[in-house]
């Protein structure tokens, strides 16, 4: 049992690290559809992590959460986003507020910051998933950074979804999943939020002939 849990813990760490790695890939990627593919990949890593945690801890309800992640974040949301991108006239991020190398460096800094913040509270967690909480916080911060650094409404949306993935990893890894009713509610909210944001992107495209959020400057002091 000791051996199993140590292998398990390493596997969970590996999967969390892969999630973090895809974050960096998303930050480095300019093509919008590739960003969406990377997000789908990241979500599938999340499914694997959640399944592992479910198997190792014996918490049945995490299987449900993992299944829902698979359906919603690997299948439905990427398809919706692809549809939205098809409707756009520009498929690439042309101008970014922060260029790629600087962005990657900043993300590296954010990871260190996340580990620094999470350090005092990590010893509380179970041995299995101890480091995942810090990684989850790092993913949340990188998602936030992506939303600030990118211009296109779609890539901001991807940033938001990455942030949400980080939260889900945190909830699964640190606490072995929140009460089922809360998790279902969170999935519901994320799904609706993505659909609404997709509709908005189309409307912005029609009204402004662009989804550059920099053009949204009518309202200011």
């Amino acid at each position: 049992m000791q051996g199993l849990s140590s292998v398990g813990s390493q596997l969970v760490d590996l999967c969390s690290a892969l999630l973090l790695l895809t974050c960096f890939a998303i930050v480095a990627q300019r093509r919008l559809s590739a960003c969406v593919d990377l997000f789908a990949l990241q979500s599938s890593f999340l499914v694997v992590t959640a399944t592992l945690v479910a198997y190792l801890t014996g918490n049945q309800h995490i299987y449900i959460a993992a299944g829902l992640t698979g359906v919603i974040k690997v299948l439905i949301i990427p398809r919706v986003l692809k549809k939205v991108i098809d409707h756009l006239n520009v498929k690439r991020e042309l101008v970014m507020h922060v260029n790629v190398p600087t962005g990657l460096l900043i993300c590296g800094g954010l990871v260190m910051l996340a580990f620094f913040i999470a350090q005092p509270i990590l010893p509380l967690g179970s041995l299995l998933t101890r480091d995942s909480l810090a990684i989850a916080l790092a993913i949340v911060l990188i998602g936030l950074f992506t939303m600030i650094a990118r211009q296109k409404a779609v890539s901001q949306l991807v940033g938001f979804l990455v942030l949400e993935n980080g939260l889900f990893l945190g909830a699964t890894a640190a606490t072995h999943g929140m009460p089922l009713i809360v998790e279902l509610g969170v999935f519901f909210d994320v799904l609706i939020a993505t659909l609404i944001a997709g509709i908005y992107t189309n409307r912005l495209q029609d009204a402004f002939d662009s989804v550059d959020t920099d053009r949204l400057t009518v309202l200011k002091e």
Partner: protein
């Protein structure tokens, strides 16, 4: 008891479902008024029960109602009722004018009911997690209401609102996860780990490090919804672009519900962490909001933005009250939440009337309101005076309470080198109290001057050519009259049930 809770939850749900299938305007309004009437009635029953029997847990521990949540429900009910009456004349005029296609009217009502439902769920939920889901649902329900006119500006405001609030709320979710993380080590039944009823008895055994981190995330997250500086940038845009009844709900109720979510967690945190930690953070954001908003009120040339910044100012004042804590500061803060909700919804009703007549949001282009729309002019003056916290309005009483608490107790943690190291003010206790009270007074006086100066400029003078004079009576005037009575009345005579609710809610928030 359980029936009343079910009515509060099912009335908006049913009304929302019916709104989707009904198309006649009169029916839609009828459904709306019936459901909000049922909600208010059930709310009255709940108030009575909670006051006589104490807190209630029902529906399999999913619902928890104490004096604090009942008080918030009361605000939702009153402002919701006022809005429903106002909508009767407002929406019909927009349809008649062709601004809203008749076919979209039911979509508006559907979203309105979902918004109401989400706020009720957020208020009565026992689990902090369910509360989070409901508050995120309010964002989703209102984003299309804000962008309802489909103009470029409203799309921009709606998008900003959706993105900023969703991100803010996601940070709050991380806080909720951390709260759950801390409870796992203490509670045996993990499925109860987010319930307020389960957390409160064991709160003093929760890990303080985790709770501190959790509170920061939750404060920043829900603070975005409250509109606290520096997370406020969506608020003035959204309040300018959204239809008037929606803004009245956003300003009057949603801010209060988000503040309530912060307070719920704060009580738990206060058990395990020194009181000064949360108090200091709340007061810090409160002062930032108060001072920033006072500045923007002074330079404002758009009356809807003027009221939006006034919202930020008043929520800042309430947060300062909660930050100071103690019976006086907390009571003042809660009382201020209610006074602001009533006065601000009335101000936005008046603003909606002005916008429909003058077709502009620029203060300079609105003149002679007293001649063009005497009823609206009166409403604007009354709400303006109430928002400036002048006597005899109740907001005066609550602001004085907060100021007294500030001058006598000071903000915990701000008078010495802060316990948490956040603010290091190495000055004597008394000096810092006087300094903070002066900042408070100066900001309050600045915004008072700015607000009244702008409003009186709009009311007096002669209306320009082409503006119709005179204002026929509509159902939309009823809530204005009722709110006026409440605003003045509450300062002289606070009805016994409301007073008891306020006192009991205060005692829930103050830890002996």
């Amino acid at each position: 008891m359980t029936i009343a809770v079910l009515v509060v939850l099912i009335a908006p749900l049913l009304a929302g479902g019916l709104s989707l299938v009904v198309h006649r305007s009169a029916w839609l309004h009828g459904i709306n008024l019936t459901s909000i009437g049922a909600l208010v009635t059930a709310e009255t029953v709940l108030t009575h029960t909670v006051l006589s029997d104490g807190p209630v847990t029902t529906l399999g521990e999913l619902v928890y109602l104490d004096a604090l949540s009942t008080f918030i429900l009361f605000i939702i009910g009153v402002v919701g009722l006022a809005c429903s009456f106002y909508m009767r004349s407002y929406m019909d005029e927009q349809v008649a004018r062709g601004v809203i296609a008749p076919g979209r009217l039911n979509l508006f009502f559907f979203l309105f009911h979902m918004f109401l439902l989400a706020m009720v769920v957020a208020t009565v939920a026992n689990s902090v997690g369910v509360q989070w889901v409901a508050i995120e649902a309010t964002t989703l329900a209102t984003t299309f209401l804000i962008a309802f006119w489909k103009r470029r500006e409203s799309l921009e405001a709606g998008w900003k609102y959706l993105i900023l609030c969703s991100v803010g709320i996601s940070l709050a979710l991380f806080g909720v996860v951390l709260l759950y993380y801390s409870s796992l080590h203490v509670l045996s039944d993990a499925s109860q780990g987010l319930n307020v009823t389960a957390l409160l008895p064991v709160a003093d055994r929760l890990n303080p490090h985790v709770l501190k981190l959790a509170f920061i995330f939750i404060l920043v997250g829900y603070g975005t919804k409250v509109g606290l500086v520096p997370m406020h940038s969506w608020l003035p845009d959204a309040y300018t672009e959204a239809p008037a009844p929606v803004v009245a709900m956003l300003a009057g109720v949603l801010e209060v519900v988000a503040a309530y979510a912060i307070l719920r967690v704060r009580v738990i945190v206060d058990h395990a962490v020194p009181f000064a930690f949360a108090g200091e953070l709340l007061a810090l954001l409160g002062f930032a909001s108060l001072v920033t908003a006072a500045f923007f009120i002074l330079i404002q040339h758009n009356y809807k933005r003027l009221f939006a910044y006034s919202s930020i100012e008043h929520m800042g004042i309430a947060m300062i009250g909660f930050g100071i804590g103690g019976p006086l500061g907390t009571f003042g803060g809660l009382f201020h939440l209610m006074n602001h909700a009533l006065a601000k919804s009335m101000a936005f009703f008046a603003a909606g009337n002005i916008h429909r007549r003058f077709r502009t949001v620029e203060i300079e282009h609105v003149q002679g309101l007293a001649m063009a729309q005497p009823w609206t002019a009166t409403a604007l003056m009354i709400s303006g005076l109430a928002l400036s916290a002048l006597p005899p309005f109740a907001a005066f009483a609550s602001e004085v309470q907060i100021l007294t608490a500030l001058a006598s107790q000071g903000v915990p943690g701000m008078e010495f080198a802060g316990t948490s190291g956040m603010v290091t003010v190495a000055v004597s206790d008394q000096f810092s109290r006087v300094a903070l009270a002066s900042v408070f007074l100066i900001a309050a006086v600045l915004s008072f001057g700015g607000l009244l100066y702008r409003i009186t400029g709009m009311v007096w003078g002669t209306p320009s050519e082409g503006i119709v004079r005179g204002e026929p009576w509509t159902l939309g005037h009823l809530p204005i009259i009722l709110l006026t009575v409440a605003l003045i009345g509450f300062s002289m005579f606070l009805p016994q049930p409301i007073k008891e609710l306020l006192e009991q809610a205060t005692s829930i928030l103050v830890i002996q």
